[in-house]
Symmetry: C2
Subunit: 407 residues, 2 copies
């Protein structure tokens, strides 16, 4: 008998029919003779209305109270899903984070899991029940309700799978796996049978929104066998596995396109020690996340510093940066929203040369100009014009022969 | 410094503006130098939608899961109210039933409170905080979330007031107190300054929907000073007090009219021991509540048995009773929905004679026929035609001089 943890996101339980569909998937797994633990997110957008009300009442609601409010979303989901499973004549029980014993720190709205008790879940499983757990939530050591922040339910599922030593953790989403590229952009993109943790981490952080980075880190750390699969189709998805031998790996696993960043350039920054530190310290203090940073070669003691931020942070960023620029007596501040970041990811590139050259050649063949380049051991990212992004993705996909099966 | 428990019902927190209004009321009480604990119900009809979804998913949802679902309503209220109080720059903290330590039995959807811990509430009060508690909910000894059933939030408030030995428990509603009669029917009905527990219990059970009987019983048992007052007006309401000396009491405190019952008559029932028991056992087994029962004097070994049930139970009742009637070889079963129950209540009638006669005379003066009569030590109820009910209430109100002030 295997123990399977299944996680269903908000879009999978958005309405009555979808909840019934999920119940069916859960019961099928149980009927294969497995023990099943299910982690669910809040229904579709139930919590959006609550957040809106909260902000009408208090423009800066206390985070403890936001967690008290938000955690009701998952509590509703687990109750309804359990009722749907009962309607299929299977035994099931719903449990909140507090009832399971998911203990977190006290960092409300972005708490980190400290400990999960397996006692209650195991006891219910041993009675033959399917256990339905509220994702995204826990309690701190003083019984205050906490939430885990973005991607919290994925993290709950993987963490629960880790403490239960589950045979598999299946993340059900509205896509049927991880692809070599976004199939809406690259028509012959292939679904990957496997991808290793580090590759998945890069893909996730680069904008392939299949799994949250945090849950992948957890899976890597605790060696949880993870699968991403579709809530609506009945086929296998993509397994996220430990790194296999490089010999067998393709050089490139996939391509990610991220159109959610904007570029900011500070012109004529004095090229002396401590200036960059000053700039980025100030930005960090304003709680703005910076992605790529590039500094050009100095000319006559001055340099241009370019970096990317989330488009949603652009306005706030420009305000902060214009101020900094004045303080350090730098030149103009320019912004460009019409960019895209195109990245190739593959653990195989560690042992291969010429990967970057191949990527740049492919771009050049389409007369696409590269604006910023940034690399890591298993990733190469280029910032290009947004209008060129899809064409570039298709060209690179072809150049690396990602449209061939057997991944 | 006094300790005040305030309870606000669902209609008092139905939208953002009303929640802000409640926050103001709470902060005013705190600014008078009092410690304040607030018990809130779920916002307006948030839970109605959830119940509807539940029934679309499972026509007979398990009660444990219903409690898991329903209890989110109050959790939402406490978070939002706490945020509204924070917006007024007062310190406050929300607590679920589980966080307070409201321990109940395991009778889901109608649990009874076994024990309430005062530790957490007192600790937060001592930090100068207003404590906002979710009404209607608790946990059983296995941490399962339970709900207290109808009027549960009133009961939560009174029970919390009892364990905290609060100086007062104020129940805020959409009426401004208990009246000698329904002011919509009897124009010169007077608001009562006081009413004793037993009178309030009778009034509540007779259909004066101001307070749930259960909370009044609790208040009586634990001697909690209770006040019913308006959420929207700033004046004193009605105090529910211990029985004062009968000498000072008016004979009649008030009149209640209940139009929610229907009458059923079983004709020609054999008048021998055990027949009534058989009938009412069967009805009780079907979970139908019976109110008044009257058996006429036997004629030639047969009798007619009449009783009242809630109109909402009438259809179900008739099905059960027609079957019983066949089994015991009784005659026809008749039903009448067009009835009303008119009751007068007053602890003073214990020591006065002629109260019933005065009531019946008042009815006779308007040519109103009495169908069924039932009495207790402090109450006389008559079933009359529904169309006569309002006229009868006005006539009796006048006869007992209830329109005079100084109650």
């Amino acid at each position: 008998m295997s123990l399977i943890v299944q996680k269903f996101g908000g879009s999978s339980v958005a309405d009555v029919e979808k909840i019934k569909n999920v119940a069916k998937r859960v019961v099928e797994e149980k009927k294969r003779g497995n023990q099943v633990v299910v982690v669910v997110s809040a229904l579709g957008d139930t919590t959006d209305e609550l957040v809106e009300m909260a902000h009408k009442i208090n423009s800066m609601p206390e985070e403890r109270e936001m967690d008290m409010l938000m955690s009701t979303g998952e509590q509703i989901s687990i109750a309804l899903l359990t009722m749907a499973i009962h309607a299929l004549k299977e035994e099931a029980i719903s449990l909140t984070g507090a009832q399971v014993g998911i203990i977190t720190d006290s960092a409300h709205t972005k708490a980190r899991i400290l400990k999960i008790s397996s006692r209650k879940i195991k006891s219910e499983l041993s009675k033959g029940k399917i256990v339905i757990v509220a994702g995204f939530q826990g309690v701190d050591s003083n019984k205050n309700i906490t939430t885990l922040g973005r991607g919290g339910s994925d993290t709950s599922a993987v963490a629960i799978a880790a403490v239960l030593k589950a045979n598999r953790c299946d993340i059900y989403t509205d896509v049927d796996g991880v692809y070599t590229a976004d199939p809406r952009i690259v028509k012959d993109a292939q679904k990957l049978k496997t991808i290793c943790h580090d590759e998945m981490l890069e893909m996730a952080s680069l904008g392939a929104k299949v799994l949250q980075s945090r849950s992948v880190e957890f899976a890597k750390k605790f060696n949880v066998p993870l699968q991403v699969r579709s809530s609506f189709k009945n086929q296998e998805g993509t397994y996220i596995i430990k790194e296999a031998k490089a010999m067998e790996e393709p050089i490139i696993r996939g391509i990610a396109v991220n159109k959610e960043e904007a570029k900011i350039i500070i012109k004529k920054v004095k090229d002396k020690p401590g200036v960059a530190a000053k700039i980025f310290k100030k930005i960090a203090d304003s709680n703005i996340n910076i992605d790529m940073i590039v500094q050009n070669v100095s000319e006559e003691g001055y340099t241009d510093i370019a970096f990317t931020v989330m488009k949603s942070d652009l306005k706030k960023s420009l305000k902060v940066i214009t101020e900094i620029s004045k303080n350090i007596k730098a030149g103009e501040v320019l912004a460009d929203e019409k960019i895209a970041k195109l990245s190739i990811v593959g653990i195989g590139m560690k042992n291969h040369t010429g990967v970057a050259a191949k990527m740049f050649t492919a771009l050049a063949s389409q007369k696409i100009n590269i604006d910023i380049i940034s690399t890591s051991e298993i990733k190469i990212s280029c910032v290009i014009k947004e209008k060129d992004a899809d064409k570039a993705a298709r060209e690179i996909h072809k150049a690396f022969k990602l449209n061939q099966k057997t991944k």
